[in-house]
């Protein structure tokens, strides 16, 4: 098993044959797809494709369960903001009224459209994080010749996030070992007591940054000055080669995106009024 950003993927997974750049390119481009698609059934199809890709990549599908609460809470927020708090719109078609709240078809439709736009974006991100290691992100960034300092700062940010979480666990356990227990206490109490965590965490972060700077200096790295102008060999990149199928995948992703834009703006595909699902739903509700 190899550890990825979101879990573990078997070493035999075909995803490791793909160049990290292709994975990053997939994330950046495919997550844009839903922005140009309003008909929810197409976004649902994209989600199915993403699930299929996860299955092919041998991602443990059980990890997807942790996103169910996210999907539910996101759906709830959209329903509340779009449908229950939509206000009065005489120009819209009223489909129901209860407890003084007017429910309009257009607002229900928009809520569904927005919801099914966000979900595939999250799925794309989950696919990327489930199949990529930290190193893949850095390699992808270096492949497109981003300056070393940019990729390095990004890597440090990834690493420090992990360190802060680890420190948080240590501080939390230390507090619990001294009898601090917030079980059954009110939310306000818990928030107040979180200060107990924040102060030592802040102090630890300061110490960590000092140690980290020392480690960089001790290994001859400098962000400025003559040492920063040393021509660096990128050893990590020697492990990766951009193969013919990487080029094919990159082309497929690019062509799909161009085709999507062409069909959307040239032929008005993927629009709301062409949605079979929304038309069917409208017939039921109206």
């Amino acid at each position: 098993m190899n550890k990825t950003l979101l879990g573990y993927v078997p070493t035999q997974s075909p995803i490791y044959a793909i160049h990290p750049f292709v994975k990053l390119f997939f994330l950046l481009i495919v997550s844009l797809f839903p922005m140009f698609v309003t008909a929810p059934e197409w976004n649902m199809l994209l989600m199915l494709v993403l699930i299929l890709l996860m299955w092919i990549s041998r991602v443990d599908m059980r990890t997807l369960k942790i996103y169910v609460p996210v999907a539910i809470s996101m759906g709830s927020i959209i329903i509340i903001s779009y449908i229950l708090m939509s206000g009065t719109h005489p120009e819209y078609q009223l489909i129901a009224r209860f407890a003084g709240i007017k429910v309009y078809w257009e607002r229900v439709r928009d809520a569904i459209v927005v919801y099914f736009r966000i979900l595939p974006m999250i799925f794309t991100m989950v696919f990327f994080l489930s199949t990529s290691r930290e190193r893949d992100v850095i390699v992808a960034m270096r492949t497109i010749r981003l300056p070393f300092v940019v990729t390095y700062v990004f890597a440090m940010a990834l690493r420090s996030a992990g360190m802060v979480l680890e420190d948080f666990q240590i501080v939390r356990q230390a507090e619990q070992a001294r009898g601090f227990d917030s079980t059954g206490k009110s939310l306000a109490y818990k928030i107040r007591k979180y200060v107990n965590y924040m102060i030592p965490l802040f102090a630890l972060s300061l110490r960590r940054s000092e140690e980290f700077t020392n480690a960089l200096v001790a290994r001859g790295y400098a962000f400025t000055g003559e040492a920063s102008r040393v021509k660096r060999a990128d050893y990590v990149l020697t492990h990766y080669s951009f193969k013919y199928f990487d080029a094919i995948f990159t082309a497929i992703i690019s062509i799909s995106f161009i085709a999507l834009l062409f069909m959307r703006y040239g032929y008005d595909y993927f629009a709301i009024d062409q949605s079979i699902l929304l038309n069917w739903l409208k017939n039921i509700l109206m």
Binding site: M163, A215, A218, R219, G220, Y221, E226, V230
Partner: protein, 282 residues
């Protein structure tokens, strides 16, 4: 052997502190020597290590008196990154010094900073992974390794840069006895095969003594004892007063000497101790 470190009347006081962290230090270290630095917490050991690597005064504000010369040149006269080409430093918390996502990236980071070519990096990587036994861990994230493995990675990352002068600040503090021994095995190999100058700050003397050519004792910011290892540990009274606890065998012979049972030189290593014990019984 030429002198590579020369510290003359050196004092350092951190900004906004009342007392100097180091006071009137005078030391010379010759090339190829293995020097152990001991002393209670707060005695100035880490400050001395940082002063040799240029972290002081480079990264810290404070008042400096005297001179710290590495290869005859003041540490602050070296350009950024220049001193680090031949001075490597391993810190006590290995995790705090990891700068990369995999062990391999960690090991090559310093080499890339030195501007080495890919074939040179590959060669150094092979050498250092074999030396430190990290061949099977190259693709693992360093922070997922055990404490001993982490410290070996930290050590390897510095060794890969083949510094002539290697400074280790309490490298085994967080390790279990087995991992501790493995770190010292690597240092022993370096001493035998590479002729590096090695300075180790360490509380655990069991592993340090057999390797050290010279020992330095710091107390309250001052250097109070410096000598060849064998001679150094003949001053057991002073060492004990400073809260340093030498290995059991050495203490045992010291007790015998105090009781007037022996008059010989105290044995500092286990083989010497067993030899002396055998002679006593004979």
């Amino acid at each position: 052997m030429s002198v590579i470190i020369e510290i003359k009347d050196y004092s350092w006081q951190y900004m906004n502190t009342r007392q100097a962290a180091l006071n009137d230090i005078n030391v010379q270290v010759k090339e190829g020597m293995f020097v152990g630095i001991i002393g209670a917490n707060g005695s100035g050991k880490t400050t001395l290590a940082y002063s040799l690597n240029g972290l002081i005064p480079g990264q810290y504000n404070g008042i400096k008196h005297g001179e710290v010369l590495i290869y005859g040149k003041e540490v602050e006269e070296y350009k950024s990154g220049e001193l680090q080409k031949f001075t490597g430093m391993v810190f006590s918390d290995p995790e705090a010094q990891f700068t990369a996502m995999t062990v391999e990236d960690e090991l090559v980071f310093g080499l890339e900073n030195l501007g080495m070519s890919i074939p040179e990096i590959r060669e150094r990587l092979e050498w250092v992974t074999e030396l430190t036994g990290l061949e099977t861990m190259l693709l693992k994230p360093p922070y997922e390794l055990s404490g001993g493995q982490k410290q070996r990675v930290a050590l390897a990352a510095v060794l890969a840069m083949t510094p002539k002068l290697l400074i280790l600040d309490e490298p085994t503090t967080m390790l279990d006895p087995v991992s501790r021994r493995r770190v010292f095995e690597v240092l022993a190999k370096l001493k035998q095969e590479q002729n590096n100058t090695i300075i180790v700050i360490e509380h655990n003397l069991e592993n340090l003594i057999p390797l050290a050519d010279r020992m330095i004792l710091l107390s309250d910011s001052r250097l109070i004892l410096e000598d060849e290892t064998q001679q150094f540990f003949q001053n057991m009274e002073l060492i004990s007063q400073e809260g340093i606890y030498p290995p059991g065998a050495l203490q045992f012979f010291y007790e015998l000497k105090k009781a007037g049972k022996i008059s010989d030189t105290l044995p500092v290593t286990l083989p010497d101790a067993s030899k002396q014990l055998k002679q006593l019984f004979d």
